[in-house]
Structures are given as structure tokens and as C-alpha cells.
Symmetry: D2
Amino acid sequence: MTHDPERRRDLAHVGPLELYTPVLEESRDFFVNQLALREVGRDADSIYLHTWDDYLSWTIRLIRRERAGVGTTFVRAASAAAFERVRAEIELAGLVDGIDAGVRGLGEVVRFHDPDGHPMGLYWEAGWYVPDETDTPALKNQAAAFPGRGANVRRLDHVNYLTKDVPGTSRFLADVLGARCTERIVTDEGEDAAIWFNLGNKSYDLVYTQDWTGANGRLHHLAFATDTREDILRAADVMLEAGIHIETGPHKHAIQQTFFLYVWEPGGNRIELCNAGARLILAPDWKTISWTAAERAKGQAWGLKTIDTFHTHGTPVLPVE
Amino acid sequence: MTHDPERRRDLAHVGPLELYTPVLEESRDFFVNQLALREVGRDADSIYLHTWDDYLSWTIRLIRRERAGVGTTFVRAASAAAFERVRAEIELAGLVDGIDAGVRGLGEVVRFHDPDGHPMGLYWEAGWYVPDETDTPALKNQAAAFPGRGANVRRLDHVNYLTKDVPGTSRFLADVLGARCTERIVTDEGEDAAIWFNLGNKSYDLVYTQDWTGANGRLHHLAFATDTREDILRAADVMLEAGIHIETGPHKHAIQQTFFLYVWEPGGNRIELCNAGARLILAPDWKTISWTAAERAKGQAWGLKTIDTFHTHGTPVLPVE
Amino acid sequence: MTHDPERRRDLAHVGPLELYTPVLEESRDFFVNQLALREVGRDADSIYLHTWDDYLSWTIRLIRRERAGVGTTFVRAASAAAFERVRAEIELAGLVDGIDAGVRGLGEVVRFHDPDGHPMGLYWEAGWYVPDETDTPALKNQAAAFPGRGANVRRLDHVNYLTKDVPGTSRFLADVLGARCTERIVTDEGEDAAIWFNLGNKSYDLVYTQDWTGANGRLHHLAFATDTREDILRAADVMLEAGIHIETGPHKHAIQQTFFLYVWEPGGNRIELCNAGARLILAPDWKTISWTAAERAKGQAWGLKTIDTFHTHGTPVLPVE
Amino acid sequence: MTHDPERRRDLAHVGPLELYTPVLEESRDFFVNQLALREVGRDADSIYLHTWDDYLSWTIRLIRRERAGVGTTFVRAASAAAFERVRAEIELAGLVDGIDAGVRGLGEVVRFHDPDGHPMGLYWEAGWYVPDETDTPALKNQAAAFPGRGANVRRLDHVNYLTKDVPGTSRFLADVLGARCTERIVTDEGEDAAIWFNLGNKSYDLVYTQDWTGANGRLHHLAFATDTREDILRAADVMLEAGIHIETGPHKHAIQQTFFLYVWEPGGNRIELCNAGARLILAPDWKTISWTAAERAKGQAWGLKTIDTFHTHGTPVLPVE
């Protein structure tokens, strides 16, 4: 499966994004103290947080909900014309849920959902982050001051959703959003069990994994990028001291070769810290890498067996039948 | 100066590239032993080398010449249609030098030159690297085996050319190649002294700096990307042991925030090892960062004064009048 | 259990050391290519190897044997007088096996054995490493040139032996060798299951773990120190490409907080690459840290469960009853 | 000049230490926010600070003074008997200033001074650090919780004093304190210009450099150890954002091969962050490394020229004649 280089790249990147948590303040403290995000706004039931090198006015919004999970993922169009083209594709697919002009820091948002029901929002116009006197960076080519705290995550990296229909979601990503599949896991029956799609040169931005429960709209994890692998090793010590549950890592994935650490934030959502080194997908005709069940069974790059909860924990957490 | 998001991104990346050297074998040994490239071919007067994660069949070609310098820089179009669009722009600009179907590993190449005379080649069709039994990677999403040697450079990153006409070159990059200016140095007279342009999400791929000698077609440096800053610290020890001239670094640039090491390969060409951490330009409407002469005078990010030879050494080396 | 500061420190360090392997050349290639040791001598059935910053003339000697395992561990006295004092203690304990003046690079060696039967050699006089023109270091305060290859291990760090009598070995280390116990694992019955002893400021040099088979004289692992944790992460990629069995890691031990990677060299011996950061035992009255079985059950520092083979693999490998 | 292995090692380590500053609170904020020390006590004119892995109850005491500089350096004896032996040597040398039983956290202190007049204190009895509920470490073999903030310095590493009499100070270190010279800079006239002495396995603990002003009792710098070189690279970004003056680095010294960063704390004292990797002096008969003026002129390990202020700035700052 080779990428179609002629297909226009109409989406720039993923973000900002909404995350649900039953313990709003505890989750806020985790993102601020352990990941080094900054609180940039709040209302009755939500808090807006910003990573130090995100050009947008906010990176994630924590929303108080009874159960953890992912809210709306906003995706930015690559241009005003691209916004109209993707909007047309979404309408054609009958996935539009409405238009919203009231999202903080963004212009008009076309609200829609993926085939699995995850809420999404397409936008073009966006306000840029304006630091105040306490977080003005020393270097003008950076969004905000370097925090030098905890994991120091630079920016949002990707979202990994659970879905009960991987093939359908794959068609949606390719045909409606124009994303490209860089890697995938194929079952012995020849069906996709997990798919990694990218929008630009990053090796992936949107990931979908088969939901073992058959439920809809759940989250596997949300990931933030760090500058170095050392940031991730340090983060592990930071999580240990803070009593944050470390699920697995630091280690390296064979798939996409990402150096990773997975923790569960206080609300229960799985958060990944990731570093890709200098790896980028520069080939416009990249050939999708397919991993077999046997290859997947080998575990991570350096032989670590994949931890069981990786296949049993998602948010919202569902009652076991 | 804000990027024009509507301008189509018709170039995928820079590379492969030709480099001239008066000491072919010594230069080859440097790239193989200290940077960890692999020799993949040679003819009477040149040697083809490959970095371990370049999907193309070769990364740089060392050519025996009386004087060091840069040869042809090949740039890959983003698609077959993009190839035709850029080809038309180059013809319109009257910069075409001819068509070449004989470049190793590439399909038809449109040979042209930038306004300063640096030879370039536009291509779309390209053969991919095929490892042999001695460098087949353990992970199938990697071009070749990880060498674990010296600086372990992953891939070609960017080229920094010297030019006597920065403004003219800037128009060429924007209007003919459709590249985007992410950062620049502006003189007190308001003229560009150096410009950094990118083609995708990397913060820069092509850089032009004012040539203090007024000569044409010279090279400031060629850069390779490493996965970590630690690779660059280790590289410094490797260069020290090998007796390679370390010009400056390891340190961090304020401009583009690149962590760097500059050395002179045996042939005299300046080679940079660089690491950008997780920094990428994801904003489709990125606003060009302008640095003043005063800001530049501050030196590098952490206060290191820019070394004099950085403003006096280029290749080919010109006789001092 | 607090250290006795009055007890004189009569041993300087562990090393050199002999290692048995059934595949001499394959083991040699592993230590040279993946760990960056240098071959400095050989005879009919053995090869001498040197780490780049070992002041001694050789670091380990690989000896061809039918079965893998540890040979003689040589320990250097802190002075000529210290040599006599320790020699007297060994004689008093009735552990002397003889005197040997024929060990390469060492002066007179008092051969003895620990209570479990591991052969050891006490020496004072030693020749220093003399680099030749191919490995003379650029910096005169270093034993040999920095190899910049694979794991780049700087020096031998410690030896972890298996023993059927931990308490007896503990008394031997304290009373005969004058070593100090920095950390230990205590069973619910109050008995030591594993003990870490040091000779100077390193947190440990000699480790003994209960041998689950009840056998004598076996090896759990031999460890080499790297300068950074990044060296160990890179080493994991190097081992992966070389097809070397990675048993566990890279990860961090709770005990001693060592960042580690365990691999099995071609001969079957377990080799650890370790980094302690800036951690040293500077307190002369250090209080031994005791870990309970419950604490040990928590696994490694960041929650990784200890791999089963860590409790079932030792060399020589014994036939399962 | 070879070490005398028979000379007993009667001093365990350097620290705690007093530092003078004209801006007490600003200096305190630097050590707490940028270096990650913790405030553990204060009185009218001083503040006690602790590094996260110092087993002692405090690491440095900031004292308000009109001018910056170093106060008393306390050195711990290796045992009660060692305390008496060194005390006798100090008395024999006629350097005793008095006995003090009132130093926070320490037992009886023999106050004395080096030949240059720097105040010192010898002690044996010392109280250990007791973390409270807010900084109890997750791992029991660590003094306090890992802060994960700024430079995260683990412990005090060494002190570099300025002296007008290097040879006299050298005799004092060797004959009175029993320290050993690991490296030195020798002038063309054959005199020591700078000397590095160690007490245990660290490559150095006490350093004296010729004071170009001919003054007495001044400080060149105080150094703290970090676990990795990455901690030091990050620290540079942290200092940049905090507006702390970065004098030189990050870079690597040829002498002792220390990876370093030098900054001036708000009070004016030069502070070094250092990392030695896995380098230790394990040879009991280490041969002192002598560097010539010519070798020193080469600059740092990777060719960086030594910055001028390194030879002109010391504390207290003296009026230029």
C-alpha cells in the first residue's frame, strides 16, 4: 500500500483537544506539575492548559465529567481553501454535526464525528498564543518560556483512539481527511487491527486500535512529545516520586520506533510521553509498513513483552460483563 | 511576513547531494568512520555514500575535484504532477540547464541552477535503498541497519549555501520552488543577510547566507541529523580522537534552536551535525522570525560568541585578495 | 547495620577478571564489536581484552572452556602494606590456594577462593596499559583512545556471583576482604538473599545472590560501566541489530538505582551495562539499606516486573533435574 | 609524581559549605528554582539549603555579607580515629583557629584555615538528613525526593579556590589533609599554576588556582554534580530563561574531562554544574597528570577557547588597581 502523492495534504495537524476527567483539579495538577503544561484559562467545569511550544492559545482542555475519556479533537486545515475542501468531504460523508463559532481561540468550527463516534472539529482560523510577562521566552522562535520542570513536554504529538471498526475508520481517514497510513498491524485473517496515519512529515498523528470491548468512542491514549529520550527517563523518576501509575516504559516501540513512557493521569486516561528522535517520513511515496500478529507478539523493539493492561485499559472504563 | 498556506507544497525534500573534495579517500573515510555512512558504490572519480535511515539509494556522492565545494543538490518533487508544476516554474524563470536521465538511482532529472549559480536537479522518480545481508535492519520500518558507530547520523538534514544575492535567492526559493521562509537575519538597512526556508514540517531545508567574498556558488555547510544531542556530544569526542578539526560546538543556535557541532571534513567542507529535538513547524500560517544584527551579535543561545571562521571559511576556499 | 569507619580500606578495586566461554571467537567479537573493548593479546586458548579507560594492561580474559562461567576474579590491594594485611586475613581464614607469579601484567598473586568456591586472586603490583600508535588517546588523562563504537563501555564495574551460602559469603566479604555492605535483600525469615558490597566510593563492586540450584561457584552477571544512560539506550539498538539476546532493560533498578541493560554474550554469560549517574557512597558511616521480599516483589524502580530468567539463568548452566 | 598508597585516607569528603552573598533571597531563589536545592532552615542572616541526595542535613548555607565569596568549608573525617589524626596534623601545622560545637547538624568542629586563609572546619560526628512528608523519596536508598526541577543537582561536587601560593597550598593538601594530586597545570618555569586533589575515588574534591590579583581567600567556583550531561544541557536553557549569566559552556574540560556549565549566581559567585560520566580514579598508585601552558592554551577538550573572565572573575570581586 503506497501513499498517493497526488492527494492534496489538506490537514495541518491535530490539536487542540478536550479530555474528560472525574477529578478535574487532580488532573490539572498532573499536567501542570509532572508534564509542565501551564494553566491559561478556566471556567466552571473546565481548565485550559498550554504546552510551552504550542503556537496555539491552548493545547488541551480538561473537562469535568463523571467518566474519563476523550472529548472533541480539533484538527486544523492547511489553509482556508483546504478547510472548504475537507468540509465538503465531511458533508459528502454525512458526518457533519453542526457549526460552532464559540470555541475558545478558534474561528468557525465544523463539528463532525469519525465512523466510531469520536467527536471532532475542523477549523482554519486560530489565534496564536501570547505569553505574559511571566512566560515570555528568551528566544523569540518559541511560543512560551521553557519550564524546565518534570517531563517538559514540548507539544501535543498524537491521539490513539479505540474503535470497533478499524477498516471503516481507515477509509474515513484516507478518503475524508486525506491522511496517509504509515504503519499498520494486520491480523492473520488479513484485517487491520491497528492503523497509524499521518498528516505531514511526522510518522503519525492519528492512530486507531481495535476496541476489544466492541464499544464506541473510547480513547487508548493521548501523547505528548519531548525533545529527548532523557526527558522521558527523568519523567519516569518524576512519576515515581509523584505516585503516578507508570503502566509501562521507558522503552522503545518496534512499530514507529517511538521511545515511550505510559502513565495514567489521575482521571484515569492513559498518557504517553514520546520521542521519535530525528525520524520523519520524508518520502512522498512512503510504502505502508505492515506488521503481522507474529511480529507483534515479539513485543517491543528491545524484547519487552507488551503489558496486559495495554489491551484491557481504555477510557471511559467499561463495566466488565 | 506570514506564510501563504494556499501555495501548494510541491517539493518533498532535499537530497541526494554531491560534494567535491580534493582528497576523495580521506573524505570517504571521514563520512564512513566518523559519521557512520556506508559506501554503496563508486566509479573512477566518485564514491556514493548512504545514511542508515535514508529511503533513497544514496545520500551523498563524493566527487574528486581540485577544490572542495558543493556539486549538484537534487530536490525531490512531492508527486509526478508537482514535478511538472515546478519544472514549469523553473522554465518560466529561465533557469533550466538541461534534462538528465543518467543520474544513479533517480529518474528523469531537470538540471537547473539557483540565481547564485549553485547547480540543482529536480526529480520525481527514485529507486529505494535495498539493504544487503550485511545491513538489513532488525526493524522493517528502517532503511538499513543501525551502525552504532561514531556520530550515527540518521539522514541528510539541510544545506547552507553562500550567495552574493540573498534577496534574489529568496525570491527564487519562494516563487520558483515554493519554499517558505521560517527565519531570517535582517541587517540594520533592512536587507536579508541570511534566510532559512523549509519545504515541509522541518524548520528548514535550504539556507542561504551572504557571501562576504562576493563570489558565486559556494557552500557554507552541509548538515546531517542525529537522533539525540548525546550523539553530538559523543561525536565531539570521536572527532577529537580522529584528529578532525572541530570548528565550534557542541552548542545551541538561537536561530532555529538547533543543537550543533561543526567540523571540517578532510576535503575542507564544513559539516554540521544537528539535532532539533521535537521542534517542528506545524503552523501552516507560520510567521517568519526576523533576527536583527544586534540580536545576532549576542551569539549563540547560551551566549557563545560566534567563531570568526564561521564568517570567513566557505568552500571552495578563495584566495584572499 | 552501619559501616565500621575504622576498618581500613585495604582493597582498591575488582579486576581484571577471567570469563569462560565455549565459543571463544564469537564471544571475542561481541566484546570488541558491541561493547567496544580492544583485543590486546591472545594465546592458544584465551584472548585478553581491554576497556578504553582501564589503567591496567587488560580488563577481561576470555578462556575457551566447555561451559561458560566466571574464572578467577583478581582484586587489587590498596597498597603494598594492604596487600600483606589482606594476605594474612586470607591465610587466617584458610582460603589460600597458592602463589602465582605468572599472571599477565600482574605481580605476585595470592590465589584463594571465596566460601562458595569462586577462584580469586589478590595482587598489588601491576603494569599499566600502554597504548600503541593506533589507540593513543587525544587526552593524556585517559588510558586509551575513545572507540566511539557500540556501547563504548568505559571500565569493568562489578561482578555478581551466585552462591549457596549468602550469610557465609557476607562474613567473608566483611571480615576477610574488609568490604562494606551498602544494600541487601532480606527474606521474611530475616536471612540475606542478596548482598551488595563496596570497596571504595562506588555503591558496589562485589555482589552475591542466592543460587536457586544450590550449586557452587556460578556467575549471575558481569557488569561494565558506561558514561551515560544514552550509551545504554544506544547499546540496546546495537544488540538488536547484532542479534544479541537482550534479557531485560534498558530500565532502572530500585536497588542501587542502577540504570541497566542485560544481555547474554554468545558464550551464554549474562553481561550488564550499567550507569549510576553521579551516585556515590560518600558517607563513611553509611547505613546498609535492607529491602524486604515485598519491596523486591514490586519489581524495578519504574514498575517493570523482574524477568523470570533473572532467577533461572546463571553460568555455568546446570542441567535441570 | 605518583600517589603514596600507604598514606591513609583520613578525609571522607568535602561539605557542607558556607557561601556569602550580598543578595540573600535572590541567591536562595537561584539555588532553589534553577538548581533544585531545598530550603531546610534559616535564621536572621542565613539560609540552609539541601541537595536531594546529600545524606547530611544541609549542603550549603547562604550567608548575607556585603561581598560575595566562600565562607567555611567543612570537611568530614573518615572515622573518629581519622578525625584525631587529621586534628593532630592541623595542630602540628599551627593552623587551628579554635573548636566549635555549635555548627548546625555537625558534632565538634575543629576550625582551621588553609595557608591562603580560607576558613575550614574538620568534623566527624554528623546528623543525617530526615525528609518530611513532602520530600520523602519513593526509593529508600536516596536522601530526599527527586525534585525534577531545573538542573536537578544531586550533590555538592568540589570547590575551586583561588590562592596566591599554589605550592604552599599543595603541601598543605598533601601533608596535612592527606589529599592526593590527580592533575595539575605546570608553568614553563616548572611551578604549579593550578592543582586538583582528591580524597577518595572522585577525580577531584579540592582545587586551587593561582590568584592573578595576589589576594587571599578568594573563590573561583563551587561545583554541583548532575547525573547526566543532558541535565547540564537543560540547565543551560533554564538559566537562559531565568536571565542567569551563563559564563561558558556547556562544554568539556580537557583537564579531568568534566562536562561543565559555569554560571554566576545572583550574588556574583561562580557556580559550576559538572558531570564526570563513569570516570573514577580507581588506581591507588595514580600518576599525577601534568598539563603544560602550551597544552592549556589549546583550550577545552573540543577546542573551545577558555573565556577571559575565567581568569579575571573571582569572589570577592576586588577593585581593579
